[in-house]
Amino acid sequence: MAVEAQPLPASLAAAETRIETPGLLRDIPLVPTAILLWLVLMALLAGVLAPYDPTLPVAGARITQPPVWMEGGSTSTLLGTDFQGRDVLSRLIYGARVSLMVAATGTVVAGGIGMLLGILAGYLGGWVDQTIMRLTDAWLALPSLMFAIFLAALLGPGVGNIIIVFGLIYWTRYARVIRGEVLSLRERDFVRLAQVAGVSKTRIILRHIVPNVMNTWMVLASLTVGVAIITEASLSFLGLGVPPPTPAWGLMLAEARATLMVGQWWLTVVPGACISVVVLAANLFGDWLRVRLDPQQRNL
């Protein structure tokens, strides 16, 4: 995924060291962005928005009460209650917080490790490059989900552990792609000039390389957020992620399995639909970002 560009005269090369930000917000896709902002809002204001405590049964309501639009529902619990009598809507809102936290932090951790290793591999080359690439291949050999399940099972449940697991597994995507970018960046005029001028490697990396891989990093991050949410949901579904009674969408799906065969379908459909919508929004946003920042990718 090397970024090709026309060679610039040396005088203009200096201008490339800045990150391109003006005009970035043009053509931003409204619906996905709105959904993502809504998610962030829900996560931050969960305490204010949620009508009830997500871990306690609602006083005065039955267990597995249907949503308000179905027979037997009531306006006090708009989306019904689960098998312990807890309000589904409140659990959804608080669950957004967990999902967002895991997705955002996990992505940043994985992205940080991946960017570091990718830059080191690309810029230093030689045996450093080979070692890192072999390690990447080895870790990519295990299908991500299986590896995630494996590590999560070993570390035990907990939000912190999921973030660690995520960081350990998904750094490989970043490392590979960023290494490729760095390989081509290394040959560019402004980097060559800096090297010739005697600038230290660390300084070159920090001042010239990092700002120019940020675009790619952001695209990768936005595309990884969706994967993060699904992975967290999958792990929680298997009982390896967020431990009860903390509300998490994947956990809600797991708990709903018991009621699946007896007809309380909303306990499954509602959290699952939330997951799907958020991931869809994240993917659409990521796609838009990728096209916006690198027009060559448009055909994918």
């Binding site: 072999r134 390690l135 291949d137 080895a138 870790w139 050999a141 295990l142 299908p143 991500s144 989900l145 299986m146 590896f147 399940i149 494996f150 590590l151 099972a153 070993l154 570390l155 969706g226 699904i230 949901a233 999958s234 579904f237 298997l238 009982g239 390896l240 799906l253 399995r257 699946l260 065969m261 007809g263 379908w265 499954t268 459909v269 699952g272 997951i275 799907s276 991931v279 869809l280 993917n283 659409l284 055909n299 994918l300």
Partner: protein, 305 residues
């Protein structure tokens, strides 16, 4: 060519080594298996005996060496829970997963390729947008949620299909769709980009200039060439599907290696866990190696890279 093969093989071996070490260390570093073998009420003598019996008391390098020796012989140890060799349980369950993965692959090909061709041929039209939406949905809606919804609709609601178990074609349909759903989307995208590339190429232009009917151009010239990467992706996806079907196998009570892994993890049966994970890694590394070698045969430019 031989140099490339040797190098590529060497890389695979290094990756395999790193993989095995990772698994080995991860499992040993995060808990004391003897504790779980004997249970919370176990006496120290029982635990000490368990350690000797199961080889947990030897030093790590010794354990690792014997582990590697055993794996090379096909011996993954004996399951703590089932008390029979892991190899036996694994290969007993593997055909079920193969069956499921094959069905999933079939679905992903049946949906992905035709839609991919359609969206490439009718690029920038309503059809294209519709197919892009389908691809997006495939990548965003988790497979296991699709599985759960299908159970609600087809098993509980309409009672057309069984909700769990295996054995008949009706049992395979829902898990296969749940599994293949995501990969259909990636097939679609790959077919689309492959077709778009080929449709813009020189010899397709020539075929059109010659007056060849459009349908012949698409099928005979474009499709065949776009197919090569799609087929190799299919091979890779098959192996991946085999190994990530854990959740789907759990939901549908499908007796495959995914569920075996989950059982092993729940019961801290680490010979089973090690066995399944190592086999998964070996399979994927093997398929990647095969694919790379195949590409080197097809495209000579790669050999000299």
């Amino acid at each position: 060519m031989r140099g490339y093969v040797v190098r590529r093989l060497g890389y695979s071996l290094i990756s395999l080594f790193l993989l095995s070490v990772t698994i080995f260390v991860a499992v040993r570093a995060t808990g004391d298996p003897a504790l779980l073998l004997v249970g919370p009420g176990g006496r120290p003598e029982d635990m000490a005996r368990a350690r000797v019996d199961w080889g947990i008391d030897r030093s790590w390098p010794e354990q690792y060496l014997s582990f590697v020796r055993n794996v090379a012989r096909g011996d993954f140890g004996t399951s703590f829970q089932y008390r029979i060799p892991v190899r036996d349980i694994y290969f007993q369950r593997l055909p079920n997963s193969l069956q499921l993965a094959a069905a999933g692959l079939l679905i992903s090909l049946l949906i992905g390729i035709p839609l991919g061709i359609l969206t490439a041929v009718k690029v920038d039209t309503v059809w294209d947008t519709a197919c892009k939406i389908v691809a997006m949905l495939g990548l965003s809606i988790p497979g296991f949620f699709v599985g759960l919804v299908m159970i609600i609709v087809f098993a509980v609601g309409l009672r057309w299909l069984p909700a769990a178990g295996s054995g008949t074609p009706q049992h395979v349909i829902m898990p296969a769709v749940a599994l293949g759903w995501y990969f259909a989307a990636s097939m679609l995208r790959l077919t689309r980009s492959g077709m778009l590339d080929v449709l813009g190429s020189e010899y397709v232009k020539l075929a059109r200039l010659k007056g060849t009917p459009e349908r012949v151009v698409i099928v005979k010239h474009a499709f065949k060439n776009a197919l090569i990467p799609v087929l190799t992706l299919a091979g890779v996806n098959f192996v991946i599907m085999l190994n990530v079907a854990v959740i789907i196998e759990t939901i549908f009570a499908w007796p495959g290696i995914g569920r075996l892994l989950f059982e092993g993890i729940s019961l801290r049966d680490f010979p089973v866990v090690q066995g399944v994970v190592v086999m998964a890694g070996v399979m994927v590394l093997g398929v990647n190696l095969l694919v790379d070698l195949l590409y080197a045969v097809i495209d000579p430019r790669i050999r000299y890279a």
